[in-house]
Amino acid sequence: MSDLLIQLRGVTKLYGSGQAELLALKGIDLDIRAGEFVAIMGPSGSGKSTAMNILGCLDTPSAGQYLFKGAHVEVLSRDQRARLRRRFLGFVFQGFNLLARTSAQENVELPLLYRGDSAGVRRAAAAKALQAVGLGGWEHHTPAELSGGQQQRVAIARAIVTAPAVVLADEPTGNLDTQRSHEIMGLLMALNQEQGITVLMVTHEPDMAAYARRMVHFVDGRIASDVPNLYPTNSAPDAALPAEIL
């Protein structure tokens, strides 16, 4: 439970140059162990999204080191980072980002397609992932036929279908109402507790952050506080049986 999964050392991120220069991250040190559930909070412009992009290997730091499982990420090429993402990372976005006019099944299969898995393997894994997010039987519905909460569940299934080490969720409840938000949080918490998937979540809703067991606050490109959440919200309302399905 205490393997060091992610280490950030003096990470800075500089955008633009000259007059328009903006130092979004001003030297971040952050350690994340496997199996943690971390909420990253902070006002807009605090650098939390930048940090998330770097943690998700979508962006590279301007200076400093990023070690993922002890390997340096900051020196990797674009394609090497893509390979790292497809192997170890899962993404959940605020806007779901499902392919339109494409069934839930096919949406979930997408990351497996890039791994080169055969159709049979893809189908089985996608069905299992959809089952895990409580959408068994909804395989052939397209996003337009699903509610927002269900769409986000499909997106979570897509993130976990590759059995990643880390799921990065960027405002996963930002587009959902309170009840659906709590369902999604319950689902993320369950994935974290039952499958041991490390979850990094950016949110600005304290209610949602309360599910995490560690809260990291960003202010002005620095980590202002990094505290454990001793009493995480634990009562996910009907996480396994979402109300909208009933």
Binding site: R87, Y114, G116
Partner: protein, 406 residues
């Protein structure tokens, strides 16, 4: 990997069926235009070749005149016409000549069986039938004394027989009296049908002995055309040269005078005409190929729109671990599949169109597998060419920016 990327491309084409169709429309039109043009052009070339070889192979046509295009009318004014003696001189003095037929021609209306029909009355000798590859359907050719005396006998072509005698019980035409202007002639033979030629319906003809035409119709001993058929395997170029020399002598031309006659070689005529249609075919094909290129630009346009429209999708694919070249390949394959699909649809349409048009235009349907394959390959190539730029743009997107795109 390639297979799954191919399936991805196919899926995204099917997801936008209407737009995919509109995208490939340009290619469809281009490909079908190219193939239809070339197929019809080839058919026309074939039919011209067939028509000219129907005139008779190894045939030289000699006509008086300074300058005359192929298939032109009678002799030029002021230029001496030929005489029957010229034909005999050619036959006896030039080696390699199989037959020489002097020919006179007059457009007249013939009457018989209560019907009349405007046709072309030809005066010539029996050699005319050899030179023109004519076969008898029934009856006989002219007798020697009939030719000498200019007897009132005639042979009729299939069209004349059909128009005058068809549907009348007991009248095959043979042995009937046919009224030609002021005289009546007995039909002694019916010619086997030859069909259409470059010069019109060859079967629409009545043949009388040359003397008969001269005495009873034209009233002159002049001969408009000499048909010279060469023996098989004789050297056409040398024969033409000695024919030219002989005619210059007989027509008293000085060394520095221009020829006042023309020699047409049907073989050469066939080549000239078919090379003309081939040039036209190439030109039309090239014009149609431009529309293929325009179709390619259409594909590029739609692919660029599609890349912009699917920016978030591309961002997602990149985020979940698609490599740059996988995204490139996906969009490239999408463009190629689209344009190749356009090629296939174009070929189907072109086959239908050229089949229909060729029967409408009365030319043979000349299916050319080469142009079909070429068009298909070309349209796929257009997909690669015009798909590459949008695909590269997609592949180089920054996943963070792309995911944020609205």
């Amino acid at each position: 990997m390639l297979y799954s990327v191919f399936m991805l491309a196919l899926r995204s084409i099917l997801r936008n069926l209407m737009r995919s169709f509109l995208t490939i429309l340009g290619i469809v039109i281009g490909v079908s235009a190219v193939i239809t043009m070339v197929t019809l052009g080839n058919g026309a070339t074939q039919s011209i070749k067939a028509q000219i070889s129907g005139l008779g192979t190894n045939l030289l046509m000699v006509r008086p005149g300074q300058r005359m295009g192929p298939g032109g009318g009678g002799g030029g004014g002021g230029v001496p016409q030929f005489k029957e003696g010229d034909a005999e001189a050619i036959l006896s003095q030039i080696g390699g000549v199989a037959a020489v037929a002097p020919e006179g021609r007059s457009s007249l209306t013939v009457v018989a069986n209560g019907r009349n029909w405007a046709t072309s009355v030809i005066g010539s000798s029996n050699a005319w039938f050899d030179a023109g590859n004519w076969k008898l359907a029934s009856g006989r050719l002219f007798a020697a004394d009939e030719q000498l005396a200019g007897a009132a006998v005639c042979l009729i072509g299939e069209t004349v027989r059909r128009e005058i005698f068809d549907g009348t019980i007991g009248q095959t035409g043979l042995g009937e009296q046919l009224r030609v202007r002021k005289f009546s002639c007995t039909v002694i033979g019916i010619l086997a049908a030859k069909g259409q030629s470059g010069m019109g319906d060859q079967d629409d003809t009545v043949v009388v002995p040359l003397r008969t035409l001269q005495r009873r119709v034209t009233g002159s001993v002049k001969v408009a055309t000499l048909l010279v058929s060469m023996q098989d395997g004789s050297d056409g170029t040398r024969l033409k040269a000695s024919l030219k020399q002989l005619l210059r002598e007989r027509r008293n031309l000085a060394a520095d005078d221009d020829d006042n006659f023309n020699i047409f070689d049907t073989q050469q005529l066939a080549e000239t005409l078919s090379s003309t249609t081939q040039v036209l075919t190439t030109l039309l094909g090239a014009v149609a190929a431009v529309s293929l290129l325009v179709g390619g630009i259409g594909i590029m346009n739609i692919m660029l729109v599609s890349v912009t429209e699917r920016t978030r999708e591309i961002g997602l694919r990149l985020a979940i671990g698609a490599l740059e070249r996988e995204v490139l390949l996906q969009f490239l394959i999408e463009a190629v599949v689209l344009s190749a699909l356009g090629g296939v649809v174009g070929i189907v349409i072109a086959t239908a169109a050229s089949w229909g048009l060729s029967s409408l235009m009365d030319v043979p349907y000349a299916f050319d597998p080469f142009i079909n394959l070429l068009s298909l390959a070309f349209s796929a190539g257009i997909g690669v060419l015009f798909g590459y730029f949008p695909a590269r743009r997609a592949a180089r997107l920054d996943p963070i920016e792309a995911l944020r795109h609205e």
